[in-house]
Symmetry: C2
Subunit: 120 residues, 2 copies
Amino acid sequence: MKNQTINLLEKAQNITEYWSPKVVGEVDDCYVKIAKVKGEFTWHDHEEDEFFMVLEGELTIAMKAESVSLKQGEIYVVPKGVLHKPVAEHECTIMLFEKKTTLHTGQVKSDLTKDISQQL
Amino acid sequence: MKNQTINLLEKAQNITEYWSPKVVGEVDDCYVKIAKVKGEFTWHDHEEDEFFMVLEGELTIAMKAESVSLKQGEIYVVPKGVLHKPVAEHECTIMLFEKKTTLHTGQVKSDLTKDISQQL
């Protein structure tokens, strides 16, 4: 896993399901993940910070106090404990950095909740 | 620092020195950094893994056993303890993800060694 050069957008072509992050790398106790997203995710929070980078498309991260919108090449870190709901009007490809222990939908369990260590 | 949306390539326009990574975000005990590089860096290793992503240009990471070349949108994780020397023939902009404790040139000190927590 660690010794591969990965083209993120090429790799993302293998993703067949929205809102299902796939592990593409490990950095110590963190995973690097990519995901394709479209539509609205569920409100949730995590016990750890969560880094978002948009690789293609546009992502809005709704939060109670404010919302942010990210275009290609833009990043945002959702602080631990902050409720957020990612939303993408059109298909969007993102990269995530987070602790290996970070749960997909935090303590919220729903049909959207995925295993946190699925590899591509 | 954590609550900003950052366009990485726009932010990188503020960088005036090669091989001097600047912190643009924090994810728990890790920093997200960007750097402009050109020419050859020094051989070094770290006690932690180091994530590289090329945002613009092309980067070669020379290692004793193999070398890898990364183009825009490509990532590579140099495992802890692996000697490496980043090289860019032309100007290249990269993003790094690493522990806050990771030293710039590992245990090797040289004129190239920078403070590890410089912010942009």
